[in-house]
Symmetry: C3
Subunit: 476 residues, 3 copies
């Protein structure tokens, strides 16, 4: 389906009322504060599986019904998440296959977030089931505006199921022709010729990190396995709510997934923006952020995207987490919209009282009230965005483009030789993007598979390999 | 029982005659040299289990009888160790459960020292047995002055037995109420809600290092498990030798065990002092050492403590191990006594001819004679301490105190966010202690559980959390 | 047998026609280019096992017949390799015991090169078999000049078979007397006394890295296990081709194998020379290289050695891989000959089109023709070496010697204490070699087992221990 922009800029963020289910009176306070902060959207349910399904087959949607109703009553739209980003403890306990196996060949234990095997049939089935129940329950809820599928897919799994899936993927890629694979991978080198598909194992320190073609194939497979997992999540959503647009939140230029390929499977692109302002080089950080905005805008041909997360104050995962100077948060919001974003969203609405992110910034701090700089800046940004409502859905046209292709990044990272200390594809692309940004020239960031015809200038840094047909496109 | 100071300052150290059991004539030479060095105490048997019990149930105490007799005949008191710090190879071979399991889930093999599972019923039984035999045999020996239980407890074990023990510990801590644990740990975050105690596993890279409350609970449990192991060692000692005081040697401000809690289970506190003189900043190193002396003195309300180990020359575990300048060793001895120590003891009496510590300093070097600077300095220190005999058992009274609490250290290390590069609780406490030390103000180092009433000044750096009742104490 | 020098300097290198078996027409182009490059030797078959034996017991020697014939027809001698350096995938799949077990106790999976257990009876049998077939087939081939056994032996294995082999090795070393081992290793320390040979395990992070004598014994065993593996390879070669000299290529002063001991089992010594010119300190790098040349020349009493590998341009395994300045490659060739080498050989003849070393320099670059600097420099070097033919087989006599002994290096690396930051045996030996090199004084690099009598000066840096008889030799 095609995403239709709202008539306003979306202003919201991650809202985790499930963490306060023991004190629901705070939900009313949330509504009061959202109004004050000019919030019009809330992303709910991202990590709520344990509360939605406290034990296998036992469901608890009452709290979410209440929250959805409250949001709607208070003029706040809901972006509803599927909860696959973190599984309940009972699920990991009963079906260990849903957890990942590391490079060392040993399965993880319960814990952290992104820790699921993307191949596991059990996990896929359990995810489809909870997604189906969510879609069926809220398909007609007036608050429901969009699906936020899972959260920041990432990582990889080396379990036996994934090894088999990798072999199947390779068979398809090489037309079931092992000799063709041997020839293209140059497996005569170091006696690496395979004579049986089962001899192929994922590249890791215990097997082999020194076969560039194997590493590249594995990166492609891992990326595809996340996309395939996502498509499995979509099955009930498309079936039950065909008119609700679907997105998943990307992480900057994260190198584990080919976002350009993934973007094609979404209705709109969204990403989580955490600039490292604490580096001190504000123009440099702003230019990097501009590059990423440009990249996500370009992934769907200039269609508006969402800035699904950003911090209203500090983060917790940088080495030093400093509060940005007054006004910087608002400037970053305007930058997003100027680059084509239809939203300014925060992680998180209310700071958690415990857990790993208890010191990650939020609109509502531990103090719980609105009387501080961060809250007031968010409210001010909300007012400002209301004035910019006309910008929603607009597009910008670029004359210039930087060629950035995930597969190049993987290939460049995967070989041995030359200058290993300064072989950084992204840094090189940023270096070429910067002068255009300095001059205010609107620039797309495109892949080798995109249409080259509309640009007056295409810069292709570190053009390491050419995909089929690319040479001809460049010559034209 | 209450520890009664000797009428003199104890001057001695670790004595390992078991390493020379093949050449017992060297024991007589030891006696001659101890006299020359003004030694009046020797700590024996610390790692002697393999010689005491060469195979399961076969005992060999003859050599220790001889050594104990020789010590007494030569006016040297014995501090007798329990040998649990290192198990014999046969014990590890026959009962692998006595060895630790690492974070990766795999059990260690035989080797090194502190490598025992503190939960293992087999190891606890074997330790009680050898301790019982030692106590029974030497209870009336005139040389026996004190028990030195094990050696520098440290580390942790992740085996199945320890996982079960951790769950039992948690059940007790949370009144068997899993919902209370979920609420206090804020487990709604990232769907971490437990529905079965067996879902809880120790925090490690393979499970989860991102739950601050789990990490803090694990630190408390590990600390308690060492204390509990120690109390198991005490059973036969208290029963058979109720009048012999008991200590165990602590390691500076080692963060793996809450020494303030552990100290309550000892008759007197002792610690191993290895200042990093090679840093070059002698005043800084001396100030740090003063802080640690103050901390150990404060743990039992100002009662004299023992400096159980210190090097008479170099150590072997610093990056660069330099011989201190002439006189520095004696100065360090006086510093200990001035801060409330009743002893000046060395590791080690005679330098080993092999093994990991063959280049660790000793009173008697590889040359084997008394004609060198180190030996002469030790002898001179011994004479000096004889003149200071009146200082034994004296106490100093502090008007100022620094609040240092092991649980704060754990909590501060366990969260994510803010400035991760300069979040060092101990360094912060040292920074506040230094000006008091520079001015010669006697300062205690106390925990949140101690009595605050006697001080004119209490400095509480990095006051990260308040235990029950603490707020009221501070206000008073 | 005794190695007889050729009447010319050998000029050649690693030639891997097996990587181009799908396009054998390139082999004729190779012959044309070898003539242009003044190449007179080619090392073939190093990693060709998968092509020679595509499945168990199925052999394919046709391609090698053709290559051997072509070489001979074109006046190029063949140095034939045994292929044990990399096993076929089917072999690893069918017999997992041929793969190594790491320190963590888990067996590797298929991949990389040097990944075989040196103890595995299966692997030893399979290697003898393929070696026997190679020897039988080419024993009378006129191109065959020398055996190149395996490739750059290295690493270690901690599998059960190796643990048993280690214990057998120790039993032999200590006359089956465990008490003697306990006494010499000073195992009374930390209760490390063994009462059963099976209690002994290889030193590793999971067992014990803190027993210097165990570490030294393990290093000796590992070194011997490689030599023993090599001797197993030799069985069919000596039997079938007693007149063909045998070598294996060493790696600089690689510390995992006692090359001085290994050299005695070879007919001539050869080594792979990859100076780190990119460091910028050309005289320093040249001096280091001179030391290594001197060491390998001295291993067989001054007999000429081969420089079996060197790069004609860049390598791929340094952090920064820069093309040396014009002429430097030729200078390095002359340096080798001047220090006693009978050969100047390259890795590799033709740059691979894929695999880990696709960007490692070669005589023939990816462009495939002779019209570039690297190729022309190689050709020029070839011409120059033809003029130096009279130097083949000549010897130099040294008045000075540096004592460098692998066992000292192991012992020095294996203890704890003193200055751990600057304890580098090789660096210390280089420091003493440098002034002699600066003055053009021909210097041998000898072991403690060598004859000391012919030298006017012997420098013995860091003389950490004395082997039996050494003291007397030094006094004489």
């Amino acid at each position: 389906m095609t995403y239709q922009s709202e008539k306003h800029i979306v202003h919201g963020g991650d809202y985790n009322p499930d963490q306060w289910f023991r004190t629901p009176e705070i939900w009313d306070e949330d509504m009061r504060l959202m109004k004050l902060a000019h919030i019009n959207s809330a992303t709910v349910g991202i990590f709520a599986w344990a509360l939605l399904e406290p034990s296998e087959g036992e469901y608890n949607f009452g709290w979410l019904d209440t929250v959805m109703d409250k949001l709607h009553e208070n003029g706040v739209d809901a972006i509803l998440a599927t909860p696959s980003g973190a599984r309940p403890a009972w699920l990991a306990q009963k079906y260990p296959e849903v957890l990942r196996v590391r490079e060392d060949g040993v399965r993880n234990e319960f814990g952290v977030r992104h820790n699921h095997c993307p191949t596991s049939p059990v996990y896929r089935e359990k995810v489809r089931n909870i997604n189906r129940l969510l879609a069926a329950r809220y398909k007609n809820h007036p608050a429901l505006k969009m699906w936020h599928v899972s959260n920041e897919y990432s990582g990889e799994c080396h379990c036996g199921l994934c090894q088999q899936a990798f072999r199947s993927w390779l068979k398809k890629e090489y037309g079931n022709d092992l000799e063709a694979l041997n020839a293209r991978w140059w497996n005569g080198f170091w006696s690496h010729t395979y004579t049986d598909w089962d001899q192929i194992v994922s590249p890791k320190y215990r097997s082999d990190l020194e076969v560039p073609a194997l590493r590249l194939a594995w990166r492609r497979f891992v990326s595809d396995s996340h996309i395939d997992f996502y498509k499995n999540e979509l099955v009930p959503l498309r079936e039950i709510t065909p008119e609700v647009p679907v997105t998943t939140n990307f992480m900057r230029m994260y190198d584990g997934i080919d976002y350009q390929k993934f973007a094609r499977e979404t209705d709109l692109v969204s990403w989580d923006n955490y600039p490292a302002w604490e580096k001190g080089d504000n123009p440099g950080v702003a230019a990097e952020t501009a590059f990423v905005h440009d990249a996500f805008r370009s992934m769907k041909g200039g269609q508006p995207f969402y800035m699904m997360e950003s911090t209203p104050s500090i983060v917790n995962h940088h080495p030093v987490n400093k509060l940005p100077r007054p006004g910087l948060q608002e400037l970053a919001a305007v930058q997003a919209v100027a680059h084509g974003a239809d939203s300014v969203q925060y992680f998180q609405w209310r700071k958690c009282r415990g857990g790993h992110e208890k010191y990650h910034g939020a609109v509502v701090d531990h103090c719980g009230h609105e009387h501080n700089r961060v809250f007031q800046e968010v409210a001010h940004t909300g007012q400002m965005l209301e004035k910019l409502a006309a910008a929603a859905g607009t597009r910008c046209t670029a004359d210039a483009a930087i060629l950035y292709d995930w597969e190049y990044d993987w290939a460049i990272k995967g070989f041995c030789g030359f200058n290993t200390l300064r072989r950084d594809y992204l840094a090189e692309c940023l270096r070429w993007h910067r002068p255009l940004w300095d001059r205010g020239i609107c620039t797309d960031v495109i892949s080798m598979d995109d249409d080259f015809s509309g640009y007056r200038l295409i810069i292709a840094p570190f053009l390491y390999m050419l995909k089929d047909g690319a040479e001809e496109k460049i010559r034209r």
